[in-house]
Amino acid sequence: MVERAIVALLVIVVVAGVSFFVREIARRRVDDLVGTDLPAALAGRLPGRTPAIVYFYGAHCADCRHQAVVLEQLATGQGIAVARVDAASEGALADALSVMTVPSTVVVDAGRRIRAVNLGFRTHAELLAQLHDFGEAAASVA
């Protein structure tokens, strides 16, 4: 039993170490992107000059359906433009923005500068807070 406990402890330590390492890499990739310009191929899909969100989704992703509902609420309630990108079929764009899972969202300002990269589902409140953080949230639609 002692040997098994040691093995279990070793597995836990290794998994924890790898997890923190991968998260740190992902965090640094995201940090490197923040403040840079959105690739032109994506910027061209966003209408107008208001804060916007680029949304990477997958065809068989259950979380993506929920994320789409949240983004629809932001679009109709706050006038946020949303560009949808199938991450599987447009892999180059996904890779350029360090998308490693779906759903992922990239928040950009009116100048199409990247302000946040979210890997995984984000709530309405979280996305709205990110949009407000850089103080350029669109006025609510009456």
């Binding site: 406990a5 997958g58 979380d63 359906r65 949240v70 490693m100 779906v102 995984g120 709530t123």
Partner: protein, 144 residues
């Protein structure tokens, strides 16, 4: 059908996940025959609890005992549980199969048990959806 405003008790989820992982670790430490029962128990809670609230034992413990006693604090957050429900059904079924294999002396069944424990842990600690990540990785084109 989910709405974007639906909230869930985050504390109950994390407690449920923590207990599942602890029991799986304990099962491994205890050994193949006795551990098989623990693995089967966790698998049953995962599977049955998905369809019958009363069988979701660890959440029931949280709501009926731990939160009313002030030991844990309820925290409502907006989450999507659709993927987690799919994952728990898959995980529960696999654990039940592994429990049978372990009881039959097949030690290799600890590998899927460990993988499921790791995926539950990643969700509990980092809110990382391993199923989402795996689905995306397999959906990506093999050649760019």
């Amino acid at each position: 059908m989910h709405t974007a405003t639906e909230t869930f008790d985050l504390t109950a989820r994390k407690f449920h996940q923590a207990v599942c992982v602890l029991l799986l670790v304990a099962a491994f430490v205890v050994g193949t025959q006795a551990g098989a029962w623990l693995v089967g128990f966790v698998g049953l809670v995962l599977l049955a609890g998905r369809f019958w609230w009363q069988a979701d034992l660890f959440r029931q413990l949280t709501w009926r005992v731990l939160e009313p006693a002030g030991i844990l604090t309820r925290r409502e957050v907006q989450e999507n549980h659709e993927t987690r429900r799919i994952a728990r059904v898959m995980g529960g079924a696999i654990l039940l199969v592994c429990a049978v294999l372990l009881a039959a002396g097949q030690s290799l069944a600890w590998i899927p048990v460990a993988l499921i424990g790791i995926m539950i842990s990643l969700d509990a600690v980092f809110n990382f959806c391993a199923l989402c990540w795996l689905t995306y990785q397999f959906a990506k084109p093999a050649i760019r």
